[in-house]
Symmetry: C2
Subunit: 407 residues, 2 copies
Amino acid sequence: MLKGKLLIGQSGGPTPVINASLAGIILAAQVHAEIEDIYGMVHGIEGVLKDELIDLNQEARGDIQNLLYTPASALGSCRHKIKDSEYERILQVCKLHNIRHFVYIGGNDSMDTCMHISALAQSMSYELQVIGVPKTIDNDLVVTDHSPGYGSAARFMALAARDAGLDLEAMATFEDVSILEAMGRNAGWLAAASSLAKASDEDAPHLVYIPEQTFDENRFLDSVSKVHSRLQRVFVVVCEGVRDASGDFVGSSRMKETRDAFGHTLNTFTTGVAAYLAEIVNEKLGLRARFLRPVIIGRAMSACVSETDRQEAYQVGQEAVKQLASDQTGLMITLHRVSSAPYACETGIVPLKQVANAEKLLPQNFYDSNQNMPNENFKAYALPLVGEAWQPAIRLNKKRVPPLAST
Amino acid sequence: MLKGKLLIGQSGGPTPVINASLAGIILAAQVHAEIEDIYGMVHGIEGVLKDELIDLNQEARGDIQNLLYTPASALGSCRHKIKDSEYERILQVCKLHNIRHFVYIGGNDSMDTCMHISALAQSMSYELQVIGVPKTIDNDLVVTDHSPGYGSAARFMALAARDAGLDLEAMATFEDVSILEAMGRNAGWLAAASSLAKASDEDAPHLVYIPEQTFDENRFLDSVSKVHSRLQRVFVVVCEGVRDASGDFVGSSRMKETRDAFGHTLNTFTTGVAAYLAEIVNEKLGLRARFLRPVIIGRAMSACVSETDRQEAYQVGQEAVKQLASDQTGLMITLHRVSSAPYACETGIVPLKQVANAEKLLPQNFYDSNQNMPNENFKAYALPLVGEAWQPAIRLNKKRVPPLAST
C-alpha cells in the first residue's frame, strides 16, 4: 500500500446515505498505518482546485459514526465541469499535500473525473491510487446492480405514491387527479419506484411516465380520462425528464430554461412537468388536478432511508479502502447480486472507463408501455433495495348497508 | 346509553392518523350491547345524503386494527358545504336506519355540521347523540391543546426542512435558495413546525413565513439577501396562506383562482406561493432558487407518523364512545396538557358551539417577527407532539488543512 495521505470527496446530487459511504471509507482507512492522514474536499473537486481541504482525523469518532444517519453530503458537494486545464492543478494540489489515495463518491460524471485524474497521474508518473465509489438516487450507473442512494429515494417514492394516493382516494368527490413528479433526467428508475407499494389496480399510482418512452400528450390525456372513468380518481407519476416526439422536455414551452455546468437542462429550477400536466388536465379534461413536487425532499428524507441501502453504502465505502490496500487504482466499486431470493449482494470492481459517462436506463422488459406501468420484473429487481417491509395500509371492504331513504 | 346504531364519518382533509381515531371508535363501540350496529359514511356527509352507508361490523378485526397504520380517511372524506335544506335529509336517513349515535371526525367546519345536526335532532325531538372527534393537520381547532394529525404532519415538516436543508447546504456552490411550501390556509402551525429540528443559526429553515403576519415582498427579498450574504444559502419555509397588506394571497396575481364549496380559496390547485417566491428571488436577486411542494405527501406520509399522535388519535376516538355511553351529546373531544415535562395529555370535552367555525391561529408569543422564526415557546409547545426523538444529523467540524498551493 502506498504511503501517503487519503483524500475523499463527494460529488453531484446528495443522497440520504452518501455519508454512510464516507463513514465507511474513513473508518476503514483509519486502521491503515500507511495512510498518514485523511483529508476531505470542501465541495468536491472545487475544494481541491481552491486547495480547501479539511482534516477528517480531527473529527470526533462519534460524529463519524453519526454520518450513517446524516442525509446529504457532509463534506459539501458540487456540480463542477472540470476544464482540461484544471486537471493539472488538481494533480499539483495532490502532490503538494502528498495525497496518494484519492476516493471520489459520485455518479457517472464523477467517474469521468476520476478517470481523467488517474490517467493524468499516470502520464506524469505521479503515484496516485484513484477509486470511485458509486452514488446516485438516479440508479443510472452501469455495470453495478444498483447504486447506493437509489434504495432510499425509491422507498420515499413508493410510500409517497401509496400514501398520497390513499389521500386522493379519500377525497375523490372533491378532487380528481394528483400528479407526482419524480427526479431523473434521462432514467425512469425513481418514477418506476413509485409503483413498489402498489398491490392492486385500485392502488396508486395508476399511470407512470418514464423518459425512456416518448411522451404523447394526447395519449396521456386519453389514459387519464379512462382511469378516471373507471376509478373516479387518477394518480399519475411523471419523471421530470419526459420528452415529446421532438425530443423537447414536456411542458418546456411554458418554462424558462436553465442549464448546469455540464450543459444539462435543469427542469428542477422551473415549475416542472407535473405542474404543466396538472394545468392541461384541468384545461382539456376539466378535471381538478394538483401536482406534488417534493424534489430534493425525496432524495434527502431521513425518515425513508432503506436500511439495506444504508448498509450497502457503508460497505462500498469500506471496499474502496480494501482496494487501495491491494494497490488497485482506476476502479469503481460495484454491487453485484449473488442471489435474488433471499436477496444478497456482494461488492465488486469495474474499470472506471467502463462506467464513466455511461448511463443505465430502465430496461424495456421492466416496463409495460401499454399499461404505462412498471411490471413484475422491475418489482422483483427493486423491492429488495427499498429495505424492510412497510406496515400494510388496508382498504376497508365497505359492505354496503341497503339504502332505506328514497332518492 | 341509547339503544340504536352508531354512524361514523370522516370529513375534510385527511391526516396520517385519522384512521386511528376511526379504529378507536369502532373498537370501543363493539363492546357496548346498546350499539346495535356500527355504520360508516361513504365520503362523510355526502354518503349520508345519498344514503350510502357501510356496515363496519362486517370488517375483519385485523383490518380495523391495521387502520392504526393506514394513512388518509379509510371511509372516504368530503368537503361538502351543507345547505340548510339538507339537514332534514340527514336526520331522515338517520331515523330510517335507527341511528342514535353520530360521531364525526373532522375540523372546525365539521364541528359546525355536528352542531347543526344536534340542534335539529333536538328540535325534532329525535333522540340522537352527536359527538365530534378533532382532526386536522392545521392544528387550528380551538380549546383543545392540539389536534390529532398535527403532530405527524409537523414531524414531516421538521424532517423535510432539516434534511432538504442539509442537501441545500451540500450544494451551496451550485444553488442558493430552497423554498418549501407548508399547508395551512390561515394558520401557520405547520410552517412553524419546520423549525422543530433546527438547532443552530446554520440549520434550515432560515426564514419562516406564516399567514398571521402580513407578508411584505421587499422585506422578504431583503431578508433572503441578508441570509445569503451570511451563509451562502437560504432555506425558506412559506405557508401557502400568506397574504400581503391588501389581504391578497401572495403571488395570486400570477395564479388562477379556485375555490371550494365553503368559498375558501384553494391555493393548492395553483402553482402556489413557493413557486412564485422562487421566481421573484431569481428575477430580483439573481439567486438560483427552487421550490419544494410536497403538498398532500406531508399530510399522508406514513413514514413520518408521530407515535404520540397515533396514540392520541386512537384515544380521542375511544373517548367519544365513553361520552356516548355517559349519554352525552353536542360535544367535541379535546386534549388538554396536564403536564409539560414530562409531557402528558388527557382527554376532555367542550360544547360544539365553542369550537364550530372558530380558528386557533399561531399565538404572537410563539413567533419572533424580527427573525421571521418561531421561538422557544413554540418549540416547548410543539416538540412533544412530533413523537420520538430523531437520530441527530451531524455537521462536521471541518478543520481546515493549511493550504499549500499558490492561488
